[in-house]
């Protein structure tokens, strides 16, 4: 009981730090990457001064995220004159908490046996025994279904935000957001069913293990990868799918009437969602936390050569691999955001219903037939 509590408490702390830290870093990446690809320098003025000295740490503008956060927290919490008090205050939480929750089923490392970190016979080793835990907050059998179910709740937050702030622009933005997210959820679900058919499991950890045995999902299911990436960027309401909050027509869409940290939550959840989407893409299609040839006992090359690693080193390597993959996929998403122009709303719906959905269905049929023959 106690080891369980300790291990899962550590997992939760780690995952919260991972999500928030990476989301903050992605706000920086978004600025700097766009600057570099547009021949600019980018934000580089915020600094931390070491107390009592004149040493200013600039670190390429990495602290702009902190400055943003502080600004959000200390701003006046302005509310519209007529609004639905309860729903208005609930909406930012409904939009941001599901995003965090989705990560609960994502494995960010393999099996870990904490007892093996310590000297055999020491008190800590006795405490943990030889039990091992999956590095996953909730090792659910229904991983993928949980992801779909919880990410669907995010729509509620968006709709509530638009409706409760009693503003036409918010209302329009919320309507757009709702129809967009629901449309793309369908394509996303169909794409994922093809993935499930291929892997023969809905448990995310088993999917990772399957990929380690066979091949990365992006090679087995390239179409599903593209569909999933497109649909999840659309779910995240970022450019090129940022119709719900397009500045030119709707001011700021469904969170027009939000100020201070309530708006900050919407913005932060957008960046956390980048991390979560990257984590899902990595887990489903890019081999998750595994590295080629990395087995629980060390590197095993095909020629039979092995390079033994301690259990601790393997665990650290797996966690770092996962983080690095998530970072790269996140940067790729940001690259897409700064490259593609926005869709028109009818084009967006056309793309969702007339292109992605049939393609996902076709992919599912082909996958099922192939699976039928090879089984």
């Amino acid at each position: 009981m106690m080891p369980d509590l300790l291990v899962h408490g550590l997992y939760i702390a780690y995952v919260l730090g991972f999500l928030l830290g990476l989301a903050t870093i992605f706000t920086w990446v978004e600025r700097k990457q766009s600057a570099v690809m547009a021949d600019r320098i980018g934000a580089n003025r915020a600094y931390l001064r070491i107390p009592f000295t004149q040493v200013k740490l600039v670190w390429w503008g990495l602290f702009h995220g902190i400055a943003d956060g502080l600004k959000m927290i200390f701003k006046e919490n302005f509310t519209p004159a007529t609004y639905d008090r309860f729903c208005y205050n609930l909406a930012p939480w409904l939009a941001s908490v599901p995003v965090l929750l989705v990560f609960a089923v994502v494995p960010f490392g393999g099996e870990v046996t904490p007892g093996r970190f310590f000297e055999p016979g020491s008190a800590a080793a006795e405490f943990f025994g030889d039990r091992s835990w999956r590095m996953q907050i909730a090792a659910l059998d229904a991983g993928i279904l949980f992801v779909l179910a919880i990410s669907g709740v995010g729509i509620l937050g968006t709709m509530l935000a638009g409706w409760s702030s009693n503003n036409k622009f918010s209302m329009l933005g919320a309507a757009r957001a709702a129809s967009q997210m629901i449309s793309y959820e369908v394509a996303m679900g169909l794409a994922l069913i093809a993935v499930v058919v291929t892997y023969g499991t809905v448990d995310l950890n088993d999917m990772v293990l399957w990929q380690q045995q066979a091949a990365w999902g992006i090679l087995v299911q390239p179409v599903a990868f593209l569909l999933f990436l497109t649909a999840s960027i659309a779910e995240n309401k970022r450019i090129p799918f940022d119709l719900p909050e397009c500045e030119s027509e709707l001011i700021s869409g469904y969170f027009t009437e939000y100020t201070s940290m309530k708006m900050g939550l919407f913005l932060l959840s957008e960046f956390i969602e980048i991390v979560v989407i990257s984590a899902l893409v990595v887990t489903l299609f890019l081999g998750g936390y595994t590295l080629p040839f990395l087995r629980p006992e060390g590197f095993v090359l095909p020629g039979g050569a092995t390079w033994e690693l301690s259990h601790f080193a393997v665990v650290v390597l797996q966690v770092l691999t996962f983080t690095a993959k998530v970072f790269v996929v996140g940067c790729f998403q940001i690259g897409i955001r700064w490259t593609l122009p926005r869709f028109r709303y009818d084009q967006l719906m056309d793309l969702g219903w007339k292109f992605l959905l049939p393609l996902a269905a076709l992919n599912l049929v082909v996958t099922a037939v192939v699976r039928w023959w090879t089984l």
């Binding site: 990457q33 570099v36 690809m37 547009a38 320098i41 593209l226 690259g335 490259t339 593609l340």
Partner: protein, 192 residues
């Protein structure tokens, strides 16, 4: 030449072939363009060069300002080092941004120019660099030079151009526009 009129061509006629309509390949093309620029610039940054076209303002002074650029104001001086301005307030009247403030002082001993500004301030947070003040001045006492005022700072005080900061031009130090030599320069020549 046949008599058929040529089909009217619009400059923005969409010409989407199947390739473009498939969209995915165009995405790849766009990503490789932006990615190419990104990695080229990034390579410059990591090898210690500057991978951007923009300048660090205000640390870096751009070399390509035109000599006629309307930038910072200067108050010209007489050969004896006194400010040429006679505090007539014409520039302040002409200024569309109402950002010049002058407080006059009197010096009865100087018969030719008894009036001079005790305080001459330009609020650069409001100045629009239109140059009307330069046009309005009957004494050629205010000019604009090509470099920019040193504006960035952490409070508004640094956005004021004060008289002592503006008095940067002395006729004897400028080889391009000399004044008739004064009888006897009394004070030390101020370098611009």
């Amino acid at each position: 030449m046949s008599g058929r009129p040529a089909k009217k061509q619009y400059w923005n006629e969409p010409e989407l072939g199947l390739w473009e309509r498939l969209y995915i390949f165009e995405i790849v093309r766009g990503l490789s363009i932006t990615g190419g620029v990104f990695f080229r610039n990034m390579w410059k940054w990591v090898t210690g060069r500057k991978g951007a076209l923009t300048a660090y303002y205000p640390e870096e002074v751009r070399a390509d300002y035109s000599p006629n650029n309307r930038g910072r104001h200067v108050l010209t001086q007489r050969p004896d080092g006194k400010v040429q301005c006679v505090a007539c307030n014409m520039c302040a009247t002409a200024c569309p941004a109402y950002c010049i403030e002058i407080e006059a002082a009197i010096d009865p001993t100087d018969g030719a120019h008894p009036k001079s500004p005790a305080r001459f301030e330009i609020d650069y947070s409001r100045c629009i660099f239109c140059g009307f003040c330069v046009e309005a001045c009957p004494e050629d006492a205010i000019r604009m030079v090509k470099d920019t005022p040193d504006l960035p700072g952490f409070d508004r005080d640094v956005m004021w151009g004060r008289k002592d900061l503006l008095m940067l031009w002395h006729p004897l130090a400028d080889p391009r526009k000399r004044y008739p030599p004064a009888p006897e320069p009394t004070t030390e020549v101020r370098e611009p």
